[in-house]
């Protein structure tokens, strides 16, 4: 589904992504674990084409096609989407309208179902704007609902658990599992080992490079033993 080969990004002379290789299979949940500043969000931006990021080297292949030069819309139309760590708020755009434009059919009953899947009561939220009146956690769950509505082939979820309370987190994770059961691949970016438990495979990112990859429990343990205790963040040679 997604093959990233020797991906590189240099910004102002600094290597942010440094020869990154990654494979995400069809209907796979692939967790990316990494400390702050290791390049997780940059990787998400490069795959989606957001933030004006374009690789300075390497390839991003989606379903056999190099997508690195495509616009965000073109990538979305091919079935890729991104849920931001801190989603944008849009004054005057209701939750209902936001989910409708994400959804292929825009049916109200379907939209209500996506809200319920992330633990939100439709009557309470459908007519609200996705603006500053929503809490950070509410906005994140709506972002997740809009991804569910899109039925993407590949959903990139950037720290979907941050700002989510312990009651809502299981609902959110269930939403990801449900989306995966319906055939979506998921690139699940996080620094929470708990979240990666739902993944089929996990890779560890350091200094813009994948330094380990494998089964979730083993890789999470490896991350815990090696990265959380490492005094040389972003210096994998140590």
């Amino acid at each position: 589904m997604l093959v990233v080969e020797n991906l590189q990004l240099k910004l102002n002379g600094n290597s942010i992504i440094n020869g990154l290789d990654l494979h995400v299979g069809k209907a796979e949940i692939h967790g990316i674990l990494g400390e702050n500043g290791t390049g997780k969000t940059t990787l998400a931006n490069l795959i989606m084409g957001t933030n004006n990021y374009r690789p300075t080297g390497g390839r991003i292949i989606f379903e056999g096609e190099d997508i690195a030069e495509l616009s965000i819309s073109e990538r979305a139309k091919k079935g890729i989407t991104l849920a931001w760590q801190e989603p944008a708020r849009v004054e005057g755009l209701t939750v209902k309208d936001y989910l409708s434009l994400s959804s292929k059919n825009g049916r109200a009953d379907q939209i209500e179902r996506y809200l319920l899947m992330v633990g939100m009561e439709p009557k309470q939220y459908m007519d609200r704007d996705i603006d500053a009146t929503l809490s950070g956690g509410e906005r994140k769950r709506i972002e997740m609902a809009s991804v569910l509505a899109m039925h993407p082939k590949l959903a990139i979820l950037d720290e979907p658990d941050s700002g989510i309370d312990i009651v809502a987190l299981p609902l959110l994770l269930n939403g990801i599992i449900e989306m995966n059961k319906q055939g979506s691949s998921v690139l699940l970016i996080t620094h929470s080992e708990q979240v990666t438990e739902i993944a089929h495979r996990v890779s560890v990112l350091c200094a813009g490079k994948i330094i380990n990859s494998g089964a979730p429990l083993e890789t999470s343990q490896w991350f815990k033993n090696n990265c959380l205790t490492c005094p040389h963040i972003n210096e994998p040679a140590h």
Binding site: M48, T50, N51, S71, I72, S73, R75, A76, K77, T81, L82, W84, P87, A88, R89, V90, E91, G92, L93, D97, L101, S102, D129, D131, S146, M150
Partner: protein
């Protein structure tokens, strides 16, 4: 100039009215007060109990006397439809409004110029809101894509003791052309004035907005709010002026202009003046660009960039 029969005119204007978001059923209902004017001809004029609409056709438009009698509370919104279907023409509406003491009315006006290439639409209104009367006026414009139109709405509004004037002017469908909006409100004791303008300027639109509120009575309150989005080579100047001239008057000027692209030009000039030490008038004016992250969020759901910008602009102008 092409002349239309009255029947053709009515059909044409109602069709354009629907396209502009108007509710055709409201114009067909006997229970709803309405006034439909095409060029200088009055095509429909129905009042309801306590509301009188008198008209006089002139060479270039129509004089309208709109009276809400003392104590009358008009249950359903009054619908006004002003339009000009030919490509060229002049329409001058001279309006006198008398909302008498303790009356209440809500007016929805649609101004429709779908084919304008060289059209001038002027409105000159003299509006008197009586003591404790409430008048809510919403005016929405529907223009074509030629931009060959000049819109010049001017109003002087006097709001009596405890009265309320609320107006919203929206122009986001079609090209603006040239807009010279000038509303001035004088508030007596405990009167309230709220002026809202929402405009989406594109092409080479030229927009001038003046919202002026005089808080002349003790405890009077006023807000002048404007939301503009400019693309292409559109230019806009927004002046929001509020004068606190009486004890405990409270006023606020709130102007936000967003510029999309590098060629549009926005200017905001808020003026606040207080002449009494217990009065307070505040202002906020911001000019910025459309948030890139908002655009990218919508693009990541499959919208093209222009569609994404359009959704954001509609949201800004709705709120």
């Amino acid at each position: 100039m092409i002349r239309y029969s009255v029947e053709e005119e009515y059909k044409g204007i109602i069709s354009a009215y629907e396209k502009a978001g108007g509710d055709k059923r409201a114009l067909q209902s006997k229970d709803v007060a309405k006034l439909v004017i095409h060029e200088n001809r009055v095509l429909a004029n129905d009042g309801v109990k306590g509301l009188k609409i008198n008209t006089e056709e002139t060479d270039s438009g129509v004089r309208v006397n709109f009276t809400v009698e003392k104590g009358t509370k008009v249950a359903r919104p009054v619908h006004l439809c002003f339009g000009l279907l030919p490509k060229e023409g002049l329409q001058e509406i001279i309006m006198k409004v008398d909302a008498q003491d303790n009356s209440e009315v809500s007016v929805v006006a649609h101004c429709i110029f779908p084919n304008a290439v060289k059209v001038i639409h002027k409105m000159d209104a003299d509006i008197n809101i009586g003591a404790n009367a409430k008048f809510d006026y919403k005016e929405t414009h529907y223009h074509g894509e030629d931009g060959g139109i000049e819109v010049i709405p001017k109003a002087k509004v006097k709001v009596g003791k405890g009265g309320v004037w609320q107006s919203t002017f929206s122009l986001s469908q079609g090209l603006v052309g040239r807009l010279d909006y000038d509303f001035e409100v004088f508030c007596q004791e405990k009167a309230v004035a709220e002026l809202v303008v929402k405009v989406y300027g594109r092409g080479s639109d030229d927009i001038k907005i003046l919202e002026k509120i005089h808080l002349d009575g003790r405890g009077a309150r006023g807000m002048a709010k404007s939301r503009l989005v400019l693309s292409d080579k559109a230019r806009a100047e927004v002046r929001g002026e509020t004068y606190g001239n009486a004890p405990y008057a409270r006023g606020h000027v709130d102007c936000i202009e967003l510029v999309n692209g590098t060629e549009a030009v926005a200017r905001a000039i808020p003026i606040v003046e207080v002449t009494v030490d217990t009065a307070k008038v505040t202002h906020e004016a911001a000019i910025g660009s459309i948030d890139r992250k908002q655009v990218e969020t919508l693009m990541a759901r499959g919208l093209d960039e222009n569609e994404a910008v359009d959704v954001i602009v509609r949201g800004i102008l709705k709120s």
